[in-house]
Amino acid sequence: MTETKGDREPSFEDRLRVARTKQGLDKPAPTSASADMGGRSAMGIGLRVGVELVSAMIVGVGLGWFFDRWLHTTPFLLILGVLLGGGAGVANVWRLMGPKKPPA
């Protein structure tokens, strides 16, 4: 229980506060959600954007194709699916790269 001489070691109060915040007993410090998304290489960002675009297109085309087969409306829903899938891909990328919303 002796006082540490240097300020190398954080005091008990500090450590308690950190531990309480971590356990959710005190109100948590405001954290920037997904702050780590920006700090990556250009290659990584490029791959992520590409994957988002392609996967939205896959889902759009897949849904269009499936409903076309089901409802016998070939090829109109597939065309609609391609357009909506492309739109959803751009929406994904915008959500990923666009300006961040101010924390509510």
Binding site: K22, A56, L84, G89, N92
Partner: protein, 250 residues
């Protein structure tokens, strides 16, 4: 073999029955075997790591404690204080993917995360759980997620399908990202390793030239170790972000 060697980059992803005739009769492949091995390794790490219960941890205990506190911190940081409830799920997911990626780098091992069937099954599990959590917490109010509050009503027929497709594309992008990274790395290994064999087949000059692809493969191994960690981390953190959306719904 040496002179006639062709590049068979995708042959390494073929599934074979493991464990002899017993495994063959129930279609137990080397992929399933690797899953069992990595699951056993995760359990062993935690069991053997926490057995000493030392106040000053040894190496293995420090690793186990870092694994626990790292994922625990990720859950509470990304999801909020509710994140602790999802800790077991995120922990299991992260280490299953991480050990699959890492063990896949060992010689003669198989990378189960290089099959889209595996990664898509994991991603499908994630999205089903996320949707279930959102419905459980917010009820039918969850469906307001597909239509942003401020948007004009006239645009609803356009926005709602786009938002639904965007939501459904999450498991697809999650699984493709992991699967494509693993496949690309192992294909590069195979291609450069084939170069070594083909060059060495030429003669003395070829043997000297084969040092090039060999050095490249050594460097690639370091890169692939990074990718193995990074992709497991990305998989876990995106699951956390989706869970955050499900819990807070904005």
């Amino acid at each position: 073999m040496a002179a006639e060697h062709t590049i068979d980059a995708l042959g390494q992803f073929r599934l074979f029955p493991a464990l002899g005739p017993l495994g063959a009769s129930v279609n137990f492949t080397q992929s399933n075997l690797m899953m069992l091995i990595s699951s056993a390794a995760i359990l062993w790490l935690l069991w053997a790591g926490m057995r000493p219960r030392a106040i000053v941890p040894g190496r293995l205990q420090a690793l186990a404690e870092m694994a626990y506190s790292g994922i625990s911190g990720m859950c509470t940081e990304q999801i909020g204080s509710e994140g602790k409830r999802f800790f077991p799920f995120i922990f299991t997911l992260f280490f299953f993917v991480l050990f699959g990626n890492l063990f896949g780098l060992l010689p003669f091992a198989f990378t189960y995360t290089s099959h889209i069937a595996i990664t898509f099954a994991l991603a499908l599990m994630v999205i089903v759980i996320v949707t279930f959590v959102a419905l459980r917490i917010h009820g039918l109010h969850f469906f307001s997620y597909f239509f942003p509050a401020g948007a004009p009503k006239l645009l609803a027929p356009l926005i709602i399908p786009v938002e639904i497709i965007s939501y459904l594309s999450r498991p697809v992008s999650l699984s493709i990202r992991l699967f494509a990274n693993m496949v690309a790395g192992h294909v590069m290994f195979e291609v450069f390793a084939s170069f070594i064999v083909m060059l060495a087949g030429i003669g003395t000059l070829g043997v000297i030239a084969a040092i090039g692809p060999l050095a490249l493969n050594v460097a690639l191994m370091g890169f692939e170790l990074l990718v193995a960690f990074l992709q497991a981390y990305v998989f876990a953190i995106l699951t956390c972000i989706y869970l955050h959306d499900a819990v807070h719904l904005h």
